[in-house]
């Protein structure tokens, strides 16, 4: 179940659209945690995640007057979170550009994630072993339930790009899980 999927009542949304700060704060209270967790998992760093939450909610409150249904507010906030996170990853050059053959250059683990202390059987740590882009795609698809079309749009790529990155990310993650399991068995 997507972590964002909490309904916000229409009155609160309308109040926020009229500039009511209390309503905006209520929306922040609902979505700050899923936003922070998705950003943390995608970026692999709490400090970067904090900046992403900040930038996301600056956009949310400045653009909420433009929000229109029928899509729920949580999907809209999640989209802004994902786009903001991808922008941050691009700015930090954690997402490598595609080469001429359309293949993604795989850069293992970003600098911040590398500095995180190792914790045995820590799922987040294992996830951080993936390249930033692969990590983002697997989280967007397998955790948030986003479609390949949505993922492709967020990265400005095709659906086959999303499918290909997901396939390789799962394969890498599975290999990491196996290696981690073997290490645990040895101990």
């Amino acid at each position: 179940m997507p972590s964002f999927s909490t309904a916000v009542d229409e009155i609160t949304v309308k109040r926020a659209q009229r500039g009511d700060t209390d309503a905006m704060a209520a929306i922040y209270q609902i979505f700050a945690k899923p936003c922070f967790n998705l950003a943390y998992r995608m970026a692999g760093s709490p400090a970067v995640a904090e900046d992403i939450v900040h930038d996301t909610f600056v956009k949310v409150i400045s653009k909420i007057h433009r929000f229109r249904g029928p899509a729920p507010l949580w999907a809209w906030v999640r989209q802004i979170t994902v786009n903001t996170t991808i922008n941050h990853l691009n700015r930090r050059k954690w997402i490598a550009p595609m080469d001429d053959a359309g293949q993604i250059e795989v850069t293992w683990a970003d600098p911040v994630a590398d500095r995180r202390p190792l914790t045995e059987h820590d799922a987040q740590h294992l996830l951080n072993q993936l390249p930033a882009q692969a990590r983002a795609v697997v989280l967007m698809h397998d955790l948030e339930g986003m479609t390949h079309k949505e993922i492709a749009e967020a990265f400005g790529q095709t659906e086959s790009f999303s499918k290909s990155v997901l396939f390789r990310a799962r394969k890498q993650l599975k290999a990491l899980l196996d290696a981690d399991g073997e290490k645990a068995d040895e101990q």
Binding site: K33, C35, N37, E50, V53, I61, Q124, F167, R170, L177
Partner: protein, 172 residues
């Protein structure tokens, strides 16, 4: 390529630790929002002020041109030669004002030295508009009016070039 995740992976992802965001983020969001709003208000005032000054100067100039329709006492050659020059300068200043408005609407971020320069140019612009209004009130010769209008064109061009050279202005 299978679209189904390995159940172990799904379970893994479900076990990812949950973190609470640091409490200070919302305050930072509000501060940023407030800063953006005050910047926008300041810009709107500057645009409105500039537009008002230009409209005032244009109205005075137009009024003068209309009241100076050829009369038997006036040599027609002076009006024919001088008014087009003034009109061209007025048109140019209007074009530059439009360019400046577009730049300001794109919220180009200026460096602090550029902001100081903009403030100084705007102060000069206000003084110049006052001088123009005085010149029309005193019915000064068109050559003098042209000099003032030329000065206004130069000031506006300087302002536009400040925004043109601002960091990130190229992305507009």
């Amino acid at each position: 390529m299978s679209n189904d995740a390995d159940p172990r992976l799904t379970q893994w992802l479900a076990q990812l630790p949950e973190h609470d965001p640091p409490p200070q983020i919302w305050m930072r969001v509000l501060e940023t929002r407030l800063a953006e709003q005050s910047t926008r208000t300041r810009r709107s005032r500057l645009i409105a002020g500039g537009a008002l000054a230009a409209t005032l100067a244009m109205s005075i100039a137009l009024g003068l041109v209309l009241t100076q329709q050829p009369t038997p006492a006036q040599p027609p050659t002076v009006t024919i030669q001088a008014v087009p020059q003034l009109a061209a300068l007025m048109r140019r200043t209007e074009q530059l004002e439009q360019a400046l408005r577009q730049q300001q609407e794109h919220f180009v971020q200026l460096a602090s030295t550029q902001q100081q320069l903009v403030r100084s140019q705007q102060a000069q612009l206000i003084a110049l508009d006052q001088a123009l209004a005085d010149a029309y009130a005193r019915n000064l010769p068109e050559a003098q009016l042209a000099r003032l209008w030329q000065r206004r064109v130069d000031l506006m061009a300087d302002l536009v070039s400040i925004y043109d050279t601002a960091p990130g202005a190229g992305s507009i």
